[in-house]
Chain length 356, copies 2
Amino acid sequence: MAKYPPRRTDSAGRGTELSVKVTIHDVARESGVSIKTVSRVLNREPNVKADTRDRVQAAVAALNYRPNISARSLAGSKAYLIGVFFDNPSPGYVTDVQLGAIARCRQEGYHLIVEPIDSTADIHEQVEPMLATLRMDGVILTPPLSDHPVVLSALEQAGVAYVRVAPGGDIDRAPWVSMDDRLAAYEMTRHLIGLGHRDIGFIIGHPDHGASRLRHEGFRDAMRDSGLAVREGRVEQGMFSFRSGFEAAERLLGGADRPTAIFASNDDMALGVMAVANRLRLDVPAQLSVAGFDDTPGAKITWPQLTTVRQPIAAMAGAAADMLMRGVEREDGAPPPSQVLDFELVVRESTGPAPR
Amino acid sequence: MAKYPPRRTDSAGRGTELSVKVTIHDVARESGVSIKTVSRVLNREPNVKADTRDRVQAAVAALNYRPNISARSLAGSKAYLIGVFFDNPSPGYVTDVQLGAIARCRQEGYHLIVEPIDSTADIHEQVEPMLATLRMDGVILTPPLSDHPVVLSALEQAGVAYVRVAPGGDIDRAPWVSMDDRLAAYEMTRHLIGLGHRDIGFIIGHPDHGASRLRHEGFRDAMRDSGLAVREGRVEQGMFSFRSGFEAAERLLGGADRPTAIFASNDDMALGVMAVANRLRLDVPAQLSVAGFDDTPGAKITWPQLTTVRQPIAAMAGAAADMLMRGVEREDGAPPPSQVLDFELVVRESTGPAPR
DNA sequence: ATGAAAGCGCTAACAC
DNA sequence: GTGTTAGCGCTTTCAT
């Protein structure tokens, strides 16, 4: 059985053990320059002769040297740490964000600290201490935190840069990355209308998420622009959860007079609609078309597979990480420009021509 | 529009700006002791007069002091950083692990670094540099990484402690936290048998996950112990994905001669089975019982809801974090004992009495 | 283009 | 019980 944990330092100064930590001084000695020059090479600073740089890089490789992140952080202005805050019921969303952010961070030697925030508890109490001890270079905020006033002001007070993913409003307050939720909902609605549906039900998302309002608007705008009325009782409030979608669908589909299509503001709720349809033995899409939003993994974990909107979640997170890292480099701290990324309508089997 | 990013330091040394960083020296001055004493209080070291400690704590509170994690890490032996490595197709699993680990870490002032590992790429290349630069106190390994030899040896070589969540084997190599997968599968199978099922299909999980073998064994043992035969063609290989479950179910349910129950090694595959049943217009559970494993969010995102095994994922991750943090404190580096946590059979609507 | 020296904010080792 | 003195491994500032 292996000793545990394997000790980081050898016990008596023998130099041939594994993981004797090599420092910048070792590299300096090996390449015959000062540590300052090594530092310059590491940080891609100008004013190093090509030949010198090569020698240093060779020494780095030979010694397998890795700069200590704590030392860099303590001495310098970068921490090489980006935070991701989330309080999101959807695991698929959360992992997508992490994957997208990491992909960019790795290239630049940054790492990701994840901090779930419990918005039912005291937020400031969760956020303030971590901001103070960790001194991260920046924080990525995901919905609904992107719009949470306490989180935003805690960040500002602590002097930590942040980028909001898919914020719902207050667009001038800080940089963000987003997609056009209104337009996406608009196009999805047009897709349904193009299929011949005239009586369409809609399930609104969680009121705390800014996107909910935008998607709702897109739906209404498309109906109006097509000269269609949104009938009384055809719009239900949901909470972005399967359960809330299920319940909304029960109200929508309960009577004999029912819509021929339902557009839910996210996939989880759309799955709830499918479950109700299934229970009522309604054929999807022959008797009822169902559309979702997000293209979470769940969209494919159902039969028929869900027509939905692909949100570029990973790409948004990657862009956010990028903005943060870029911001650290800048002297003036000027805001990198906010970005709107493209969505994609994913038409699968849950939507089809209106019946009759 | 707010300035961006809010600057951490004021521009000219005015002391009344926000977030002028307060250090241990400020606390020492404020409480009239040396920095060493402050350090002692911070680290709950013995040999501090109660009165002195109170004064220091008051100063900490008054100044809103937070120790700088990089400085602590550089000077001392703890980094206050725990890593979580994953390469898991199931987002629900991943977030559960993170939530469980964070809950424990927060109490002790530790933070979580998440590192997705892409096992289709060069693993050592991903792991080694991060281990060297970050010097984390420990790493939590989730399946299938818990059994990945390259990851394990990279960790050992770097001298970083680790705890494996639900490893499949090599149990003596390092500490782990697990549940009894074999027993859980055994009990689920007995549940089915108790319902009158005699002809039961089984879908094996991903071959890289150690749990797959154990669950399969539990199934076979239960059948054997009940004097039941596992019929030819009733066991299909899956990959833990919805798609693989779907395809396995098509083979299992394709002909007229089909099992009355199917036990899938995880929920995603069970959902695939449900989709096929649905398409074939088989009533679940009247004509076919379906059981899953994991109790992921998806288990409730279907109708009828899935009978499954609740894995204590968050609790396992929390225990792993705990072991790691405890290990850091110990002088001898002795292994904290590995743990087996309890599972729970969650009987919902997808299983029922065998037909006829 | 390069280097010497001075910290960053803590913990550790050893005084007292 | 408490304080003093050294660093930890880097970046920064300022020489040269």
